[in-house]
Symmetry: D2
Subunit: 359 residues, 4 copies
C-alpha cells in the first residue's frame, strides 16, 4: 500500500532513479473530463532537471506518455497509466556509495529495511520518484479546476536564512512564481536566494528552504474527521516528500504563541457565504475546509548529497571519508514547487470525491 | 474510512461529546500479549478532565471497559472493543451555539459538511473523541513495549511565548513529565507556563503551546516509502488531533535555514550498529527509522472556545456577539501529552507490523 | 483491516461469543437520514437464537444500543457505535473442546493462526459475530431504502436435498418469507424443510442449505471494475459468512453449461430505460448493475458442531471420540436469512457511495 | 481503489483493449527474491491469444517488460512496474457497437456508469485487462514458491455439459494440464470438450465452462477473519474475473445437500501435523487455511460476443439486429486457466504477508 496515496482518487507509483522508467497509475479520475499529455507535461517541465543553472546538471526531457484511460482528449473513468522513461542514467557515478552510506540520505535506512538496494543513486529514494507525483497531481488538478475552479499556487518563501516578505496569496499566479529561476515571486528575495544557492554550490555544499502554498476557491466541507482531516492528509502528503522536515497550516508554530483572543478568526458575511476576517486557521476548521484559502508551509532540509568531504563511517562502522560525486541540486526548493502543488492537488481531489459521496 | 487509522494495526473510533459513550475497536493487535484495562486506564487518567486546576471543570472518570479480544489478561489476536461511557454531559450549556458558530471552532465547517450537527458542544469535533485514541494508543504501546522495548515520552515544551530549554530526551521519563501539572519537566519553565495558563484563564482567554515527543529503542527499518514514510504518518497522526497547526521532525523549520554541511548527521559506529553523531534527522532517513531516537514537535493553537466577548457573525451572516459558556481548557497541551504519545504509538505499531510482514 | 468491510460505507466489528458484548462501528452513513434502534432491532430479532423450535436453545434478547452518530432520530454523518451485550454465556459447556478440535470447525485453524484461542465456544468464529453484520446491514439498508427505494429479500431455497421451486422474486416480500419458521415462502417446501431439520436434530446431526437473495430497484451503474465488481464484492461478502461454501450470481454454475445464444440476455425497452428480456446475468454486466434485479444464491454447509460421536483426533494427533455439547442450530439457513440480506446491503451501500463520488 | 487488489501484496492495473498498453504495479513483493521477465512471460504465454485453433484469431506476443523493482534478477522490495504493449489493435471491427450494446456484455452498464466509453471493443472490460493479473500473479507465485513451496494448478473441469471425472489433485502438474489445448488433463474429456468448442465456433456461438484449481503446501493459518477470510478473498478474486458466475470452495453447493455427519472432515495425525481424512472443507476452516490443499471451482458463462444474429435493442430502446464481428474466443476457459492461477496466487501472497505480520 505504501506506493499508493488516496482513497477514491488514488495515485500508485513505481520507479527507481536509474531503472528503465518511472510511472504511475491514477485511479478514480472521474469520466468525461479534459486531459492531455501536454497539460501534464507543463508541470513536469517545471520539475525537470536541467532547466537552469540552479539545479542538477542531469538533463532529461521527462516526456510523459498517457497509456490508458483517455480517448480523444477525454477521460474514460478508467485508470490512467502514465509513463516517463529514464534516459540519462549514469549508474557509474555512484560507485563508492556501495561501501559508504551517504550521511542523512536513505542509503543506510534502505539497507536496514530491505537488506538490498539499487546499485546506484537513490534508487526508489531518489527525487525522480516525484515525477509520478507531479504527473498524477496534474491529473488531479485538471479535475479540481474543471469541476470546482480550484487554483493551487506554491512558491519559494525561504532559502537558507533568506525569507521572502509576506505577499498577497489571494492573487498570486504561477507566472509570477516562475518569473525567477528560484521561484520566489518577490524579486529582491529571489536575487538573494539565487546568490545563496550559487554560493552553496560553489562551496560544494547545499542549502535548505521553505515552500509556501495557497489553494483557492475550495468550497467549505472538504476533509474527513477524525483521522483524514484536511490538514492531516496535507501534512502526510508533504512529509512524504523527500527532504521535508516540517509542515504548518495557517498560523503554524507561530500560532502556538498566541492567546485565543488574538488567534480566533471572527466570522463575517462575504457575499452569500460566511467568511472570516482573518485566516490564521489557514482555511480549515475542525479538519474541514471553511471556504477561505488554504495556506500551508513546508520545510525542506539542505540536500544530503554534497561534494564536500565528510568524516563519516562505512557500513561496517569503520571511519570513512566521503565526497559525493553524481549530480544533485544544491537546493531542492525551486524544483519542488510543482511537487508541492501536486501533493496538494492529490489530497484535494481525494477529499472532493469523498465529500461528493456524502451526497 | 475517516474514522479508522492504520493499515495492519488499525484503530476505529466513534463518539460524540454528549452522546452515550465514546469508544474504539483496535484491530490487528498480535495475540498472546499482556493487556489489561488498568494499563489502558493509566494513560486515560493522564488525559481525563478535572485532574487539576489547569484544565476544564468537566469531571469524568473516563473508565475504560475491554469488551472483547482479551482473555485472562492475554490478547487473542481478535479485535479489541473499548468503551468509555460519557457520564457528565450537560448539553444545555451550549444553547446559543446553535445560532452563532464559534470562531475558529468546527461548528461552521461541520454544518457546511454535514448539513446537520450534534445539538450541543463539539459533537464529534470535541476533544472527547481523543479518548478513543488514548485507549487505542495504550494498546499499541503495550505491543511496542513487550515486543521491542520501545519507549515513548512526550512533554510540554512551550506554552504561549514560554519555551522550555532543550533537555536530554535520551533519558526523560514520564514520571519527570508528570512532576508538574503542566507536564513540562523543567521546573522553572513549568512554573512560568502554569502562571501563563492561569493568567489566560483569568482573562477568559486561552493560550497555545507546543508538545515535544521522543520515541526510543526503535529498530532501524520502520517506515514505508513512498507515501507512508514514518514522518509522513506521524505528521498525519499529529495533524489529525484537534487544534494542531504544525509538525516538525528532527531539525524541522530550523533545519531549512542550514547548509548541508551543517545539517548532515555523520555516521559513527555505536556498538554493533551504525549510529549518527548528531540527530538533526530526528531518527528518520528516507522515510525509514535509522535506529536513533525519533524526535518531533507538534504545535497547538490556543483553544478556540473562550469566555471573552467576540464580535463575530451568526449562521445568517448577521453581526453577533459571542461569549462562550460551557467548560473548556484554557490550554490544551498539558492534557494532550498522552494523546500525542498515543498517536505516535499507533503509527509505530502499524509500521512495525508492516515491516514484520516483509520477513 | 480484517474486521472492517467496505471502502466508504464501512462496518468494523468486534466480539467473541462468550465475552462481554459484540458490536460494531458503522462509518460513512450519510447525514440527515432516519435511523432508530427499533429499525435495527427488527433484523436482529429475525437473526436471534431462540425464536422457535428449529434453532439453538441459546436464548438472548440481543438488544441493540446506538451509542453515537444519531440524534433525534437522524444520522449526523459521524460514526455510529452499535452495542449488543452477551447475556447468556455458558463457557462451561465447551470444556473438552480445549483438548479436541471440532471437525470442520474453526478450533484447529484458529489455534494454528493465533497460537491461542477463546476458552469457550467459537470465540470470534462464533455465529454471534454476525450480530454486528446484521446491525450494520440494517443501517445500510436504511440508507438504500430512503435514498434509492432499494428492496432486499432473502429466503431459504433449499435445505439438504429439498429444493423449493422457482418463485417470482420480483414481488417477494419479507412477510411471505417469515410466514414459516424455516423462512421458505413456498408452503409445501417449507413443511418438508422443517421436517428435515427436525429429523436431523433428532439424529443429533445437522443439515446444510441454500439461501437465495434478490435486490430490487438498484439503478444501473453500481459496481467498480476491475477488482471491486458488484458480484465480486457480493461473493466476498457472502463467503465471509461462517459455514458458506459457494456463491452464484444469476445463472451461476448452470450458466456454464449453456451456449451463448441460450444465455445472453437480449435488450428490450422497459419504460424509458433499457432492460433485458431474461435475467441470467443476475442484474450485473461487466461487474456493474444493469438495472435488473440482482439475483444470487449462497450455499451453507451443515453445522459442524453435532451431537453425534465423531472419531477424530485431539490436538496432539491421538485418536479421540468427540460428541459435542453446547447449543447450536441443526441448520443455520433460517436464521442466516437476515444475515445474507445484511451483507448484500453493506455491499450495495458502499458501491452506491462510490458511484455517487463519480458525480 | 477499484483497480487495486490486496492489502500488503497489492496489484494495481491499467489498460484498455485497444489503447497503447496494459500494465500493472505490484507493490509489496518482498526483497531479495528471484524474479525475471521470463518467469512472468511463461504464464502470459499460456494466456495469450492465438496459441491454437481454439481461441481468438487476435494474435499478440504480449511480451512483458519489467520497468522497476528488480535488479540483477533480484527484487528490491520496491514497486514492480510491468508493461505489455498492445500491438494488434483493430478498433474498426467494432463500429456498430456504438449504436447497439452487446447483450450480456459490459457495453450498456459501462455507458450507464461512466456516461462515456472506449470507442472500440471492450475497453477496460476487455479480457486484455487480465494480462495485468497474470503478470502480477506470476510475481506473487514467485514469492509463494520460493518462501513456502506453494504449488498452484488450475485446469478445465467442464465445457458446456461435458464434465471431466474427478482427478487426483494432490499430484496434478501444469504439464499435464497443458497436454491438451483445452487444458483438461483427462484425455477423453479433453477430446469431447475440444469438439464442443469447435462445434460452438462453427455455429457462430459460444459455450461456458468450469475451471477447478488446487493450491498445495500452504501452511495452516492463512486467512483473516472476519471479512477477509481465505475463501472470501478467493471468491472476490475469482468473481472479479470477466464472465464468471459462480464460485465454490471444497464441497460447494453439493455440500449444502449433506448432513453434518457426512460432511465433517475428521482429524487424523499426518506426520507431525494434524490433517483431515477427507477434504470437503477445501482446505479452509473458519476462514483460515488448515494445511490441507485448497480446492475451488469457478463457473464461466459462455462468451457474450457471438456471431449469430441476436434480436436485441439499441441504446435508444429500438429493436435492433446484432451479429457481432471482431475477434473473440468461443470458450474462455482454456485461456482463463493461468488467470485463475494468478488470482489465487495474489490472494495467497497477500494473506501470507498478513500472517507474517502477526509474528
Amino acid at each position: 500500500m505504501s506506493s499508493s496515496f488516496g482513497t477514491l482518487f488514488r495515485l500508485t507509483s513505481f520507479g527507481e532513479s536509474h531503472g528503465a522508467a518511472v510511472g504511475a497509475i491514477v485511479d478514480g479520475m472521474p469520466p468525461r473530463l479534459q486531459l492531455s499529455a501536454d497539460l501534464i507535461q507543463q508541470q513536469l517541465d517545471r520539475r525537470r532537471p536541467g532547466q537552469n543553472k540552479l539545479g542538477t546538471s542531469r538533463n532529461e526531457a521527462d516526456a510523459v506518455q498517457i497509456l490508458s484511460g483517455v480517448e480523444d482528449g477525454l477521460t474514460l473513468g478508467t485508470p490512467i497509466g502514465l509513463l516517463v522513461a529514464n534516459t540519462d542514467q549514469r549508474p557509474r557515478d555512484y560507485g563508492n556509495l556501495q561501501r559508504i552510506p551517504r550521511p542523512s540520505h536513505a542509503d543506510y535506512s534502505y539497507q536496514m529495511k530491505y537488506g538490498i538496494q539499487a546499485s546506484s543513486g537513490g534508487g526508489r529514494a531518489s527525487a525522480r520518484e516525484t515525477i509520478a507525483r507531479v504527473a498524477g497531481g496534474a491529473v488531479a488538478e485538471a479535475f479540481l479546476q474543471q469541476c470546482y475552479g480550484v487554483e493551487i499556487v506554491a512558491w519559494v518563501s525561504a532559502v537558507g536564512t533568506i525569507e521572502a516578505p509576506a505577499l498577497d496569496s489571494d492573487s498570486l499566479q504561477r507566472s509570477a512564481v516562475d518569473s525567477s529561476d528560484v521561484r520566489c515571486p518577490d524579486p529582491a528575495s529571489a536575487a538573494a536566494m539565487t546568490a545563496e544557492i550559487i554560493a552553496a554550490k560553489a562551496a560544494k555544499d547545499s542549502v535548505g528552504g521553505v515552500i509556501s502554498c495557497v489553494c483557492r476557491n475550495l468550497p467549505a466541507g472538504w476533509g474527513e474527521p477524525a483521522f483524514d482531516r484536511l490538514e492531516a492528509l496535507l501534512a502526510q502528503a508533504m512529509l512524504s516528500l523527500p527532504a521535508t522536515k516540517g509542515f504548518e497550516i495557517g498560523s503554524g508554530f507561530a500560532g502556538a504563541r498566541l492567546r485565543g483572543s488574538q488567534h480566533n478568526d471572527l466570522f463575517v458575511a462575504k457575499g452569500n457565504r460566511l467568511g472570516t476576517r482573518t485566516n490564521r486557521s489557514g482555511g480549515v476548521q475542525g479538519g474541514i475546509s471553511n471556504g477561505e484559502p488554504l495556506l500551508m508551509r513546508v520545510a525542506f532540509k539542505p540536500t544530503a548529497t554534497i561534494g564536500q568531504e565528510q568524516h563519516t563511517a562505512d557500513y561496517d562502522g569503520r571511519p570513512a571519508l566521503l565526497a559525493a560525486k553524481g549530480r544533485h541540486d544544491a537546493c531542492v526548493v525551486p524544483r519542488a514547487v510543482p511537487i508541492v502543488e501536486a501533493m496538494a492537488a492529490l489530497v484535494l481531489a481525494d477529499l472532493a470525491l469523498r465529500q461528493r459521496a456524502r451526497g
